[in-house]
Point group: C2
Chain length 646, copies 2
């Protein structure tokens, strides 16, 4: 083609570069839409700017930690609420269980540090399981993580809403709508790119951590100076009714393990970090774990040391009671409550970083539709962000934004993923036999066992409450991913030509058929194009009766095109079916010979004008699309832009 | 093309005849749908069998008279209900008004007989007005008739429902649903063709006429033999409250004139009759008028002679009271009531014969979408039948099937059409000056004046009750028909080539552009086809970055197709817009040169598989469709029918 010189394209050595002008919409509506997109999502970003869109450690901690850190708001309470069923003897186990959970956290974090180092291109638990335990284990891990990401969004938004409605009962009416709105806002922020999302969401994360740390510091200080405060009592103390047994302890451990959720996010989303990704991600993961451990340990210690009781009415949280005890009922208390509500909602944001990245890796492995692997205008994985938002909204609507309805579904997925990735590492160490492999096997084996036990305990204790849904959906998701993979592989097998193969463009002389309903300008244009093709051209006219047939033949002869005409009389006034059967019939004589159908089409000015024309060409096109060895040529005729009412 | 030999086509002299086999559906779903259609609507009919589908005089009378004849059930009552407002002195005017209406009927019928003779190809009032008063008058007449046809269906079904719910109040709950169901049944019967509809609907019409005639005969006989029965009194007698004035008499006349509705149907639908259409239609029109006149006159005479009173509660009809008076409260009375309910509903059927035929004539004159002019599988004007059914259903739903809500809209349309066709005839006689033209002008002039007065009286007296809606919608319909006409004319002007013109198929060498996203089998097929065209072929690849661009260029060179390649780097990852802008940019060098875009498309096996592929080709096609001088070639690649899970 001729050299292109315009503001839209720049010639470079050997190729043409499309500038931003080449993206401009052609219609006023298109331009308005583009402007709206610009306002909502920001300017388009170039592929090569991807590195600049990555996040620093400070922002990365805020983004990836919000889920994990936010669980410090309820991990202690979840543990105490279970052991409190066994009375004071039970409550005394809070600290031992907290320490046990922190040990498991240490193991999980250690193993994820190893995952990050071994698989710096992301994929986390999915990749570890796939590489070391096989594709099926990888898919199970991926499915569990995907489900958990959906649930994290719904659960944390529902949790934040609960915190809000506790303070302002009047908004309970529009709880679901509010939740959907929050998810939409978080999705929009993420569609602007992870860097901008980080800027928006970093503040609240650090605010919450700082607020809780403040309570802890004041609490420890008051204990040290001997000013130990008397615990504020909840509206109604949860009384012990059960015996203290192994199962109760296990349940308490499993309940408190909710604090481990979110640990996997960094490893899944490692590609979001600036280079070197593995190093930056590792530092973030350790910082996150240290921060969470400090908060969790501090809250558990102070709560048990000061004798905070669990509220049977579930309106006052342990963290709230602890804050009231330590800093009193003043502004600081309300500040902490507000920060808690915000962090609970923003925990959803971690999923918006993790899910699209995991989905993009699955898509690049062809287990999910390829759209998940494409970066949008802002280099974010837009398709994944939108899919996550939509599914989480539907979950929120289906469960009417009820925390107690959603929570039993939560955590099981992430513990399945934990278990599989620890087990995967064990296999890895057995295979590689690097330095210290025996210790590593021991640590990860212990980790796999403990997280596996938690997974089973969660599954058993919450099965009837809703965990069954997750267990039932996992095989379905795995099967779907498998089916998607089979499809892509089949397409690949059929379409791929070897990388060195040379093309042979020789072809059989095509039959070129021009259906003509009427001799007019549009038909002549189609005919013109057809006679310019290499092949045997013929025209086909469908008439409803003999008189029409002979009249058309006469007119055709007088036209003098030289193109042979076949007239089909269709006494039942059908057009598409006899035409298709006619193609089949002439095919019988020379099977497999390519057929090219040239269709004259009419493009009206206004959409309503299409109602005034039979859509025969359109219907033919649809039918021909599914016919083998058949190409269709559209020759649209545009009505000239004359004024309609002269 | 080669000679075709198969069960689907038969070679005739000079053309190919498609047999019914050529219509067979290709898919199981298609075949099942066809079977269902067969059961509902009957076998397909051939165009040449159209003459056999026409109706005889006996069937034609039943079909076209049901509307007019059914109005005998309430014409007397409508008159009496108005004059009764002036007490006994008013009621005494019933017979004079009846006779005046019958005189107008005679004039209208005479004029329609002349219309049928002058315009034997149908179109009735529309054609008369258009030919003699100009297109605008014709469109006004047509619009008025179209509206009246819609309303006839809704009003008569609502009237029949009222008769049913009077007897069985419990079905009032599902009144609207029942009405919609009745309309659907009548529409289905008519889609089977007018002949079959006639067979279904002839019985009830003759049954009703016979039942009323029985009452009249017994009544006259009892009077003759001196056994004059005492009138059965209504639940509450309507008392006179108004003075007897000219306006009241006019209103009574206008109310009773409802009995003239349906007179126009034969002239509009004349093409439904067996040949000679004019003669058969004329006989049917006269028979209909005679039958209606007999019933109307007989009911009015007996009702006044026996002193039947009007029921103020509107639960007992004058016809019902007359029947109870004459034949008593026995089985015959109930038989008459049932026949009345059925004929009221079946009055709708007249519209189903008249509307589609009028619409087909308007469509052939290009004032309505051309679909109205096409005959369906059963040679019925299916599009018109369905349109009428849908609009009448919507009317019925909008007015909740209330007779009193719908009736004020009714009759004004038909009287506008009457007036215009009488006026048209006056103009015709003035122009032609045939034998007796002065008398004819006098008669039709009188007719135009009287029907015009009725139209005005109806418009004035019922304006606020709803007639304003009809008066408001008429100009809208006329404007729409005009706009449709303008569009078709513009298309015609632009597309038509003179009947003697010879085709010049010479063309400019096209640019042939093959967008290629990846070198695979599907792309090579598209390229193969492109190189078989006459023109300058080039391939275009869109890459998201420089590395991709140079890798593709290398692969292309190794392919050895000889087709020049242009690589566009689109750093913002857009595809369709840069491609379209690129076409524009190369167009600038040589404006207006035809462009042919060859698209490799992928046809998956299952619909869900399309979700796994970007619909780039599809979106490009949509955009290219609106581009001038651009033809698109679809080269679909079909996945081989291999088993999916080996």
């Amino acid at each position: 083609m001729k050299i292109v010189r315009s503001s839209e394209f720049r010639r470079r050595k050997g190729y043409v570069m499309a500038t931003e002008d080449a993206l401009e919409a052609r219609t006023p509506v298109g331009r308005a839409t583009d402007r709206l997109r610009g306002v909502l999502f920001g300017r388009r970003l170039r592929t090569e700017d991807e590195a600049e869109e990555r996040v620093s450690r400070i922002t990365g901690l805020a983004i990836f930690a919000s889920d994990n850190i936010s669980s410090s708001a309820y991990a202690t309470e979840e543990t105490m609420r279970t052991v409190a069923l066994a009375g004071a003897a039970g409550l005394a186990l809070t600290m031992p269980i907290t320490i046990a959970i922190l040990i498991v956290l240490a193991i999980v974090v250690t193993s994820y540090l190893q995952v990050i180092r071994a698989y710096p291109h992301g994929g986390g638990g999915y990749i570890v399981a796939k590489e070391n335990l096989g594709t099926l284990a990888g898919l199970v891990s991926a499915a569990a993580l995907l489900v958990d990401y959906f649930l994290t969004v719904s659960v944390s938004v529902a949790g934040g809403l609960l915190a809000i409605t506790t303070a302002f009962p009047e908004v309970d009416q529009i709880r679901v709508e509010l939740g959907v709105g929050f998810i939409a806002l978080i999705a929009i922020a993420n569609l602007r790119g992870i860097r901008e999302a980080g800027v928006v969401f970093a503040g609240p994360t650090y605010l919450y951590a700082g607020a809780v740390l403040g309570v802890l510091v004041v609490g420890f200080y008051r204990i040290l100076i001997g000013d130990t405060p008397a615990p504020v009592a909840p509206p109604r103390v949860l009384e012990g009714t059960e015996a203290l047994g192994a199962f109760l302890i296990l349940r308490a451990f499993a309940s408190g393990s909710v604090g481990l959720t979110g640990t996997e996010a960094v490893a899944d989303g490692i590609t979001a970090f600036k280079k070197p990704e593995a190093r930056n991600g590792g530092i973030v993961l350790i910082s996150m774990a240290a921060l969470f451990a400090t908060l969790f340990f501090g809250i558990s210690f102070l709560a048990t040391h000061l004798g905070i009781q669990v509220d049977a009415t579930e309106t006052k949280s342990v963290l709230g009671l602890l804050a009231q005890t330590v800093v009193g009922d003043g502004p600081y208390f309300y500040f902490l409550q507000a920060a808690t509500a915000i962090i609970l909602i923003l925990a959803a944001n971690t999923s918006f970083s993790g899910f699209p990245r995991l989905a993009s890796i699955l898509a690049s492995h062809r287990f999910l539709p390829r759209q998940f692997a494409q970066r949008g205008d802002r280099l974010a994985f837009s398709f994944g962000i939108i899919a996550l938002a939509v599914i989480a909204m539907l979950l929120l609507i289906a469960f009417k934004a009820s925390v107690s309805g959603l929570i039993p579904l939560y955590t099981i997925g992430v513990f399945i993923a934990f278990t599989l990735s620890q087990a995967g590492l064990v296999r890895r160490w057995m295979r590689l036999r690097e330095r210290g492999w025996r210790i590593r096997i021991l640590v990860n084996g212990l980790g796999a066992t403990v997280t596996g036990v938690v997974a089973i305990v969660v599954a058993v204790t919450k099965f009837a409450l809703g965990a069954w849904m997750v267990l039932a959906i996992l095989p379905v998701i795995v099967a779907l991913m498998w089916r998607v993979h089979q499809h892509y592989r089949r397409v690949e097998d059929e379409l791929t030509i070897s990388r060195t193969e040379r093309a042979s463009l020789g072809q059989r002389r095509a039959r070129i058929i021009v259906p003509i309903s009427r001799v007019d300008r549009s038909a002549l244009e189609a005919l013109s194009l057809a006679t310019g093709l290499v092949g045997d051209v013929s025209a086909v006219h469908i008439s409803f009766d003999d008189e029409g047939a002979s009249a058309f033949k006469e007119r055709w002869a007088s036209l003098g095109t030289g193109v042979p005409l076949e007239v089909i009389v269709s006494p039942y006034r059908a057009i598409t079916r006899p035409f298709l059967k006619y193609l089949d019939a002439i095919d019988d004589g020379d099977p497999g010979r390519p057929v090219v159908v040239v269709l004259a089409e009419f493009v009206p000015h206004h959409w309503w004008e299409t109602l005034l024309h039979n859509q025969t060409a359109f219907r033919l096109k649809l039918d021909l699309f599914s016919r083998r060895n058949t190409a269709v040529i559209d020759v649209p005729h545009h009505l000239d832009d004359v004024e309609e009412f002269q």
